[in-house]
Symmetry: C2
Subunit: 89 residues, 2 copies
């Protein structure tokens, strides 16, 4: 494969994983129910992706920084919706 | 910060995100309930992480390859448990 094809593989990979929580957000929004969703998974991704942003700044790599900032915005939205729809047992 | 400190930031970031679905897996296993979990989110991560492995092979970067193979194994476990505990409405 040529460079453009490989670049596309990386870009598609980054897009799929950065936007990975969007279907979960849409499901939470639609059902208003989050009982089976793990908030620890969301918090662990928030922590991990935040460190990826810091590491991207260290690497001075705009792709790592921007992809992870997009992830972070989506994850914070997911966390907000989780607590919005969480019902005490 | 020195190189070892930065390496640690990257390693912690990679560990947190690679193992991000473990709390969700434990919750599915404990509750046997997956009604609010989005299977599309899991499938989207499976597709994205698989492409990251392919891209890592292209880059000949063992860190990208191994971190994403670990993610992939965890995500396939999550997908398996989702369908194991999925109940038709």
């Amino acid at each position: 494969m040529n460079d453009i094809a490989w670049y596309t593989v990386g870009a598609v990979a980054a897009t799929l994983t950065s936007f990975g929580f969007v279907p979960q957000i849409l499901k939470m929004w639609r059902t208003k129910s989050v009982r089976d969703v793990s908030p620890i998974t969301i918090l662990q991704f928030v922590a991990g992706v935040s460190l990826w942003v810091v590491y991207g700044v260290h690497l001075r790599d705009p792709v790592v920084i921007i992809a992870n900032l997009v992830s972070l915005a989506i994850l914070i939205t997911a966390l907000f919706l989780y607590f919005r729809f969480f019902k005490k047992a």
